[in-house]
């Protein structure tokens, strides 16, 4: 899928019958997203968002509104929800103390359950279960650490693997490679 195919046509009218009125309740049921009810859609989040600054179609305010309108499919299948730079400006500046960053994480978790997760994040989980960190062991940096007299890394993912298996995150599959 390339980006142009996935862009949501915001100008297209949305039929109420296509919306899921329970979607917002489902989202707000997660304690991290309960603040959404206080959002009055002022747009301060969007005004301070660095990603919005370079790509105006990424719009936290619009995403919050779409959740409230019940646009479940459009939100969860949107590649945009994965673009967040995690800078926390949105929650830092929100006059209503809504933590949009956390709401977005709840949305991403829901999207991941429907297999919309970008492959990069799924691969990181697989990697942590092996080495405990998000990277595979590479000869060049193992050597470099030796040369610099830095101690070798343990790179044991055994405990992390058991944590990952206990949470079911290893079941998440990816069908989206967001970049290309």
């Amino acid at each position: 899928m390339n980006r142009s195919e996935k862009i949501i046509d915001f100008k297209k009218s949305v039929s109420v019958s296509e919306c899921d009125p329970n979607f917002k309740f489902e989202v707000m049921a997660h304690p991290d997203a309960s603040g959404l009810k206080s959002c009055f859609n002022c747009g301060t989040c969007t005004a301070g968002c660095p990603i919005h600054e370079v790509f105006s179609e990424y719009n936290p305010r619009k995403l919050a509104k779409m959740v409230k309108l019940g646009m479940r499919k459009q939100v969860l299948s949107s590649p945009y929800i994965w673009y967040c730079a995690t800078c926390h400006n949105c929650e830092q500046r929100c006059p209503q103390n809504v933590k949009f960053f956390n709401i977005l994480n709840v949305l991403k978790n829901m999207a991941a359950k429907e297999d919309y997760a970008p492959v990069c994040w799924v691969q990181q989980i697989e990697q942590i279960a092996k080495t405990g960190i998000v990277f595979a062991t590479e000869e060049k940096w193992v050597k470099k650490r030796e040369e610099l007299s830095l101690s070798p890394l343990a790179l044991n993912g055994e405990k992390a693997k058991r944590m990952i298996e206990s949470s079911g995150i290893d079941e998440i599959k990816s069908k989206v490679n967001v970049d290309e």
């Binding site: 990603i51 600054e53 790509f55 926390h88 994040w121 960190i133 830095l150 990952i164 998440i172």
Partner: protein
């Protein structure tokens, strides 16, 4: 003398060893003992994307490992700092902690809520202090001028860090730089995010963010950027080459880590003790200006 569990994270020990080398040297200089905990794993920040509980679980596992040793955590990466600080805050809630501890049992661990996390710059600022740093300076860096970059997770979420900094008007890194004798500038895009967490998902947008800051700095009289996070570092430093090729730019701005600047001021050997030779864009201007 203070003692911390050193949380290296994923990227520093594999790709930015100059941060680790210089951090260890400066901590040794100030008698801050760093304990390596071999079982530490990824802080969990990216895993929150797919499953909030898993991210919290990985963070809690690290906290529990430090707690067994009776240590607080010193971080190098701002994102690890943010992830662990947020986890500490979440785990103050007893019900959440109980739930997490049920899972931690699987690996024989338990977290009771005693660990604090501090980024290395915050340790310099609060535990060592600006005045002490000034007194220890052995080399004259007064000809050097740099552009600081704080890193989002050094400042936010504010709730997790208390009143340590004012996210929209940060000061500590500026003060830490001044303490070495070097000069730091203020600039319009000071607070702009490096895009490091967007990079794995969409490179283009991350590159646009990086360029905004580098463009802002192009006409400023700076010898280097000074950073305190290896992810920001890779975005502003190593990615310059790829951005130059992709967008026809000619960026060539050296980027160094704060412990390297501090180490220079304290008299450390630039290559062996600070790894200043390990940068893709060598900070020769800085070294030449040391008196």
């Amino acid at each position: 003398m203070s003692k911390y569990a050193l949380f290296l994270g994923c990227t520093t020990p594999t790709q930015v060893p100059q941060y680790e080398i210089s951090a260890r040297w400066v901590c040794r200089y100030f008698d801050i003992e760093l304990i390596d905990i071999k079982d530490f794993v990824c802080c969990g920040i990216n895993q929150i994307n797919l499953d909030i509980e898993t991210g919290l679980l990985l963070a809690a596992m690290n906290l529990a490992l430090a707690e067994i040793k009776g240590l607080d955590i010193l971080t190098l990466c701002t994102a690890c700092t943010g992830a662990l600080a947020e986890a500490i805050e979440k785990l103050e809630d007893e019900a959440t902690r109980d739930k997490v501890n049920e899972k931690l049992k699987i690996v024989g661990l338990k977290y009771t809520g005693k660990v604090k996390v501090k980024h290395i710059s915050r340790v310099f600022y609060e535990n060592i202090g600006i005045e002490r740093i000034k007194k220890e300076v052995k080399r004259d860096l007064s000809d050097i001028q740099v552009a600081p970059h704080y890193g989002c997770h050094y400042l936010k979420p504010k709730l997790a860090f208390g009143d340590f900094e004012e996210p929209d008007n940060p000061k500590t890194l500026h003060q830490l730089i001044s303490a070495t004798g070097a000069h730091s500038i203020n600039y319009e895009t000071l607070g702009l995010c490096c895009g490091g967490k967007t990079f794995p998902v969409t490179k283009d947008l991350a590159y646009l963010l990086v360029q905004k800051k580098l463009d802002d700095l192009i006409d400023k009289e700076v010898d280097a950027m000074v950073l305190q996070c290896q992810t920001c570092y890779l975005m502003y430093s190593d990615q310059q080459k790829e951005i130059n090729e992709k967008y026809g730019k000619q960026y060539n701005l050296p980027v160094i880590l704060y412990p390297q600047l501090l180490g220079l001021a304290l008299g450390a050997e630039p290559v062996k003790e600070l790894g200043l030779n390990l940068h893709m864009i060598l900070p020769n201007k800085i070294i030449a200006k040391v008196k």
